[in-house]
Subunit: 408 residues, 2 copies
Amino acid sequence: MSTSISPLATPFPDLPAVAGATPRVARAHYKTWDRCDLTFVTLDEGTAVAGVLTQSKCPSPEVEWCRKALVLGKARALVVNAGNSNAFTGNRGRAAVEAIAARAAGQLGCQPSDIFVASTGVIGVPLPIDKAEAGLDAAFNAAPSDWRAAAEAIGTTDTYPKGAVTTAIVDGRTVTLVGIIKGSGMIAPDMATMLGFIFTDAAVEPAFLQAALSAANGKTFSCITVDGDTSTSDTVLAFATGKAGNAALTGDDSPGADAFRAALADLCRQLAMLVVRDGEGAQKLIEITVTGAESDRSAHRIAMSIANSPLVKTAIAGEDANWGRVVMAVGKAGEPAERDRLAIRFGAVEVARDGLAVEGYDEAPVAAHLKGREVEIGVDLGLGDGRATVWTCDLTHGYISINADYRS
Amino acid sequence: MSTSISPLATPFPDLPAVAGATPRVARAHYKTWDRCDLTFVTLDEGTAVAGVLTQSKCPSPEVEWCRKALVLGKARALVVNAGNSNAFTGNRGRAAVEAIAARAAGQLGCQPSDIFVASTGVIGVPLPIDKAEAGLDAAFNAAPSDWRAAAEAIGTTDTYPKGAVTTAIVDGRTVTLVGIIKGSGMIAPDMATMLGFIFTDAAVEPAFLQAALSAANGKTFSCITVDGDTSTSDTVLAFATGKAGNAALTGDDSPGADAFRAALADLCRQLAMLVVRDGEGAQKLIEITVTGAESDRSAHRIAMSIANSPLVKTAIAGEDANWGRVVMAVGKAGEPAERDRLAIRFGAVEVARDGLAVEGYDEAPVAAHLKGREVEIGVDLGLGDGRATVWTCDLTHGYISINADYRS
């Protein structure tokens, strides 16, 4: 983990244990570093699993493995390797994933398809099977860790460990949802080299868990971007151990389904924001809300066009209320827009309306807003009811330094 | 014009006069600078015109004006304002364009629709009509300038003036094509704050001139990107004065049509490359060729995904053969790709093949290639015959400095 912590970092919360999910960490020495880089979370029998995976056409073998295993809906363990993404490594990469799943299945007496694997780091170097196996053995024999140790062990260029917790009342029982996540660059989750893992003691059928996770993903992970670059390895997995004792959630009509979905969405949102706050070189968190679009989908595309614009992001870095660049980004999105209906605000102050600058708007609160750590940009298109909110960070010298100096 | 010249700059060529096209420049004082910022090119009667304009949904009133006037296919003058794009200025912006066209038409005794107007600079500030009119009058009364003075007067954040020339034999006559262009940031011509103007003494019917320009645009201006940000004002106009004495080119079957089209495409390519070479903060010119795609269109989209990836661009800035980032950018493009058929080269050296690193490839020539000013990346998808070449520059601290410090 980097030594220079993002100015947008928030403290790691106090995460409770989740009955049925037990994290352990070990040193697999995937890089020449002295830190834990293999995380092994064992899950009690009966654990349901759901996941959302990168839409990249060049996914890692881990992503392909998880996609297949998710069909079965059940899990006994999660293995996360940090420092090597194992992506774009052909048959050797596939063999490494198979070897990890087989080793863990042997330790736990389950099927390899019960083992979920995720890896993050450099692309193009096959994950060394001997290090993975030795690391797994060390983790299996280690004492359980806390979630913070796991959150640290899954990180790469992250500048701080990221975790979140929430609860919901389901069927008269309080269920706990805990999540850990990593990611800082190559972040534009098409669903983010983002890996996120959620653990709950709720009893949830896999199909409903998947539906709830997919819905939450659409409003959270899919709404963040650091650099518009989508990883080969993006993975979010949710595991439900069923130990809370509620009657299993099977669908929208199940008692507590709404509460669970809301809690899951809240957790995903917390986790997503932690990633943006650790965006490479980030000095400011930017929330972009587009309203008045022809559809929610159109609003989302326009918002992402703004969020991914280097000129908008550098303007915010420079604390410059350069709304002309916002106009540019709306215009290039390719979505329905009418210049002369467009309104733009920074914070609470409308700076442009009906396709031109608001004459004599008060610049002082705008300047003050832009000096803060959290910047809001609002765009109203004046066309319909479509709306979307996305989150990004500014583009600074820090991003260039991190990525022009990182050697493959 | 900036004082720090791009390391990729090329010298301004010796541009000949074009019979029937007469440039003049003046100081309109659009900004507090001591330089010419209004260019006025008068065109003799009988001049044909064609153009390609930004696809932005928030175009400047100049773009809208040109779009309408292009329908008539004839031109008597071009007016270019630098320092103020007049974009997103509502009725006042439209009024400014109309006033300029009316003033110039009055001077020349023609219709306002014979006057083409383009402006570049800050967005959201109405172009001051009084300055424009005084500038026009000064230009009208000035002695003709050379093309270099015009190329300098249309620039904004450009670090050097940009022009190109070529000739073709058409109908037994040598015709001359001269072009000037400006642009450095907000460059992703969806047809680039790119303005380009081409003047030829060839006799060409407007419809054929338009067809030839659109075709050339597809392989040149539409294949360059600096930052993926598409301007509200991108404009390329081609004027044909007809003074060379050839029988007018009317279609593909006209004698010399092929030669003219090839010359126009060559000129457009030269101009496009000059813009990329002046990309904000650029230290290296990057040529990306994608082959083996399902279609040319698919190849173009994948090539642009690579060209616009901040992680690829920073890797090149860092002289790092990080082909994993190229894989990432292929994967996120959303176009057909099969990871295990993918091959990637830097310069002439294949570094990945069949979905994994080429073992033991010679790193020395790759490292040497990356240290140069011009970097080639090749990607073969192994799927079909589709191919495309695009050009971009690296992403450096210079881009951040320029754009985080530029105040609106």
